[in-house]
C-alpha cells in the first residue's frame, strides 16, 4: 500500500514551515527533493572513509573507490545497461549531452549531414546540436509536434533520411509532458544508420528506463532529478560506440600512460572522467535510485497517474485556465496559462500562498513560443506529491484569478 504521507516523512524539507504554513512543492520537474537516506549515505562517506578514489593504496581510498564503482553498478541496474563500463559519470545531463556533441559529434558529423530533434526539446538537447551544426556545416532538422503536444509519426519519418547521423529526442517533454515513443523512434533511426540519443531527464524520474529494450546508443539524465544530489549526472553509451570516441576533457584519471612525447588514454568509462570525480555525489545519486527502487516504480506510477487524473480534474475548476500539452501519453507535468494573467503575476500570489511552481520558458523557448506564449506557469509532480498539494495549487490559482480579474 502506497502511503504518501509516510513517504513524505523521509524528506526533511517537508518539515519546513514558511509563515507557519507548509509548502506545496510542485517543481520536481526542475529538481526533486531528496530523502534522508541520500544525506545519510553522503555523510557516511565524509565521516567514515572519504578520500580521492582511484588513487590511493590505503583503507579510505579503497573504500571510496568501491563505493564510487558500486554507484556505477547501481546506475547500470537502474537503466538495465549491458555492462557497467557503459555508465559514464558527468556533472549533469547537460554535460552528458555536450560530451557526446564534442566527442562523437565532432568525429562523425560532417557538412551535408543532418541531426534530427523534436521541436519540444529542452535547450540542453538543442543548443549543443545547433552549435555542432554551426561548426561542422551539418543541418539541424526539427520535427514538429501536434498542437496538443502529441507525437506525429509522419512528421518524424518525413525528416528522417540517409543524411541523418543522429536523432536526439526527449523521452518525456519537460514542458508538455509528452512521452515520445523512443523505442519506435530508435528502430526507425537505426533503419537509416543514424545513432540515437535519448534525453531521459524527466522520464527517468517517473518510469523505468530500459536502455537495452529501447536500444538507444546514448541516454542522459541528472542525479538531482531522481531524488539524488546536484553535481552528478549520467551518460549511458553503448560500449562499442563509447570505445570509438575520443576523450572529452584531458588531465588526471583519464590516462593510460603519459610521456612528453605521447599520452595514451584510459579505457571507457575512465577516458571520459578527467579529474577528481564527484564521488560523494555519485554515492548520493545511487542512494536516490535505491530509494526509488525500495518503493518500486509500479507503485510510483500508480500514485502519480492517480494524481495526474486528480490534477486535471481540479485545474478544470479554475476559470480561463488552459493546459498547454494534453498529449494522450503524458507524464505529471502541467504547463498552463490563466487567461491573460502574466505568469509572473500568478507566481507572486502562489508564492504568498506557499505554492512552489515554475514560470518562464522552462529552458525550452522554441516550444513555448510555438504554443503561442513567451512564458508559461508549470506545476509538476513527484512521488511525494499529495492531493493536498494539488488542492493548495487550485485554491491559490482561484485566488490569483480573482485577484487579477479585470472588472
Amino acid at each position: 500500500m502506497y502511503d504518501v504521507y509516510k513517504i513524505r516523512k523521509d524528506f526533511p524539507i517537508f518539515d519546513v514551515r514558511i509563515n507557519g504554513k507548509p509548502v506545496a512543492y510542485l517543481d520536481t520537474t526542475a529538481s526533486a527533493q531528496k530523502p534522508q537516506a541520500v544525506f545519510d549515505a553522503m555523510r557516511r562517506v565524509y565521516y567514515e572513509f572519504y578520500a580521492n578514489p582511484h588513487r590511493g593504496t590505503y583503507y579510505f581510498a579503497d573504500a571510496i573507490t568501491t563505493a564510487y564503482e558500486q554507484a556505477r553498478e547501481t546506475v547500470r541496474q537502474f537503466i538495465n545497461a549491458r555492462e557497467v563500463r557503459e555508465i559514464v559519470f558527468t556533472r549533469n545531463a547537460t554535460e552528458s549531452i555536450n560530451l557526446v556533441a564534442s566527442t562523437w559529434g565532432l568525429q562523425n558529423v560532417r557538412a551535408g549531414d543532418e541531426i534530427l530533434i523534436s521541436e519540444a526539446e529542452h535547450h540542453a538537447n538543442l543548443v549543443p546540436w545547433q552549435h555542432l551544426c554551426e561548426i561542422s556545416g551539418a543541418k539541424l532538422a526539427v520535427f514538429p509536434v501536434a498542437d496538443n503536444g502529441d507525437y506525429i509519426e509522419e512528421e518524424f519519418l518525413a525528416r528522417l533520411n540517409e543524411k541523418t547521423k543522429l536523432v536526439a529526442v526527449s523521452a518525456m517533454s519537460n514542458v508538455l509532458g509528452t512521452m515520445f515513443p523512443i523505442k519506435k523512434i530508435t528502430a526507425a533511426a537505426h533503419g537509416v544508420g543514424a545513432k540515437v540519443l535519448v534525453d531521459a531527464c524527466q522520464f527517468a524520474v517517473h518510469y523505468p528506463l530500459d536502455v537495452q529494450d529501447i536500444d538507444c546508443d546514448f541516454a542522459a539524465f541528472s542525479g538531482h532529478k531522481i531524488y539524488g544530489p546536484t553535481g552528478i549526472g549520467v551518460l549511458y553509451g553503448k560500449a562499442e560506440v563509447l570505445e570509438k570516441m575520443p576523450p572529452y576533457q584531458f588531465g588526471g584519471d583519464m590516462i593510460d600512460n603519459v610521456t612528453f612525447a605521447k599520452t595514451t588514454y584510459a579505457d571507457i568509462p575512465a577516458r571520459f572522467e578527467a579529474g577528481t570525480p564527484a564521488s560523494v555525489q555519485a554515492v548520493g545519486m545511487a542512494e536516490g535510485i535505491k530509494y526509488i527502487e525500495r518503493i518500486g516504480f509500479a507503485d510510483i506510477v500508480r500514485h502519480e497517474e492517480e494524481l495526474i487524473r486528480y490534477t486535471n480534474e481540479r485545474l478544470a475548476e479554475v476559470p480561463k485556465l488552459k493546459i498547454i500539452g494534453t498529449a494522450e501519453k503524458k507524464g505529471g507535468v502541467f504547463s498552463f496559462a490563466v487567461g491573460k494573467i502574466h505568469p509572473q503575476d500568478l507566481a507572486f500570489v502562489l508564492n504568498k500562498e506557499n505554492v512552489a511552481i515554475r514560470i518562464g520558458h522552462h529552458c525550452a523557448q522554441p516550444i513555448v513560443n510555438r504554443m503561442g506564449y513567451n512564458s508559461l506557469a508549470r506545476a509538476s509532480l513527484g512521488l511525494y506529491t499529495t492531493k493536498e498539494d494539488i488542492d493548495a495549487l487550485t485554491a491559490a490559482l482561484l485566488k490569483a484569478e480573482k485577484f487579477f480579474r479585470e472588472e
Binding site: 494573467i341 502574466h342 503575476d345 507572486f348 512564458s375
Partner: protein, 132 residues
Amino acid sequence: MDIEELIENFSFFENWEEKYQYVIDLGNKLEPLDEAYKTEEWKVKGCQSQVWLVPHFAGGRIHFAGDSDAILVKGIIAIILLIYNDKTPEEIKSIDVMKIFAKLGLEENLTPSRRNGMLSMVAKIKEYADIK
C-alpha cells in the same frame, strides 16, 4: 500625490492582499506608454516580464514613462516613477529607493532574488541621470 502621502496610505493596509490590490490600482492609473515605444530599444533587460522605460529630458529634469505586461510589475513601476519623475539628475542620484520601499513595506520587490527586474529598472533610471 507625493511619496509621503503614499507611505501614509500604505500604513493602513493589514495584509498583502490589500496592499497589492492598491499596487494594482496605481498601475491602472499609470500614464499610458505610447505603443510605439514598446520595442526592444526601450526594453529593460533582466526581467521575467516585459518592461519598458522611456526618458524625456526637459528643463534640466527627467520625465519617465514606463509599462509592463505583468500587472503587479506595472504597479511597482508606477511607484518607482512617482519617486523619480521630474527630478534633476542630482536629485535622482541622491534618492535612497530601498529606504522608501522599506517604508512602504514593498522591499521584497527590490531584492536581487525576485528577478522581477525592478532593480534593473532603478539602475536604468540612474544611468539616464548619469548621461545628463
